[in-house]
Subunit: 164 residues, 2 copies
Amino acid sequence: MHSAVSIASQKHDHHHCIDSALAAAHSICNTNGARLTPLREQVLTIVWQSHKPLGAYAVMEILAQQSTRRVAPPTVYRALDFLLEQGLIHRINLLNAFVGCTHPQQQHANNFLICEDCGVAIEFSTDQLTGAIDHAVAEFQFSLSAQSVELMGHCQECQQAGGE
Amino acid sequence: MHSAVSIASQKHDHHHCIDSALAAAHSICNTNGARLTPLREQVLTIVWQSHKPLGAYAVMEILAQQSTRRVAPPTVYRALDFLLEQGLIHRINLLNAFVGCTHPQQQHANNFLICEDCGVAIEFSTDQLTGAIDHAVAEFQFSLSAQSVELMGHCQECQQAGGE
DNA sequence: AAAACTTATGTTATATGATAACATACTATT
DNA sequence: AATAGTATGTTATCATATAACATAAGTTTT
């Protein structure tokens, strides 16, 4: 059996998350010959401010607060598109929102558990789920190019909090 | 092993799909004490005009063509919301679009294969995938309330067509 | 059948999310 | 410094979805 854990919904030193995400981002962009410009890094940091997916316009507002200049949608969307291309963030289709990728170095499966209470998105991957999808795809002789598994519900923390 | 088939991406008598979808809709609404009004039935029929997910505004245009009167977004969204509640259609989050549910009587898992070429959405369910999701959810002690599995790629038909 | 109530639909305005098209600025190489 | 390529700024617009209130249609009670 495969074992999985996630700190996303638990208390943790989030500065560590941000730092390692930025370090990974620099490494990956360097490898790919892609330019992690100040703006892109700033947007990545904003997306990484928590484990809760953030809408593009929310990112834009934070960006506008941080920099004195006005910020328009294309500025944000272009940075987000870049980060998506580099595999540094994910898009949660259910929420029209973006969240930092917690393991950008590895091939990742884009599977999320999303808590309806606290808003946290937990990225996960199990061999069983990957296998089940591969199997289903093969059964239908489908050629897979992208996948999105988004499971809504209540995380352990919020269940406990709500039950008190 | 579980065996699965779908006619959605293949040639078939689509009138049969529409007819059985409408019959099932009447039956389900009757059971639930819900009113399948002419407008709601009309919207359901429009969504069922093919196996390709249709955007709300596309539904609205078709509705406007069919009826002489003007049709505004809330009219369409309310009908779509009703049909979603009754489990008669699904929302494809990746596409912001809606598609008829192919087996509304059974409990259904909201798993889709979506062809990027022809646009068809194939609803499917395998025990293995259901099990894998249940397993992952249990592992994280997550309480599941809704799930969305959307797999993009190319259906068998389009692969053959493109390879010629 | 009229009154009261509930549900469904019409109508207007607006919120929210995303992109097209073109202008300017930056970066790296020559 | 000139050039080419990439990144960002700017304006306008498209696409998706909902809030708020008005009217109409069904349902229940009297």
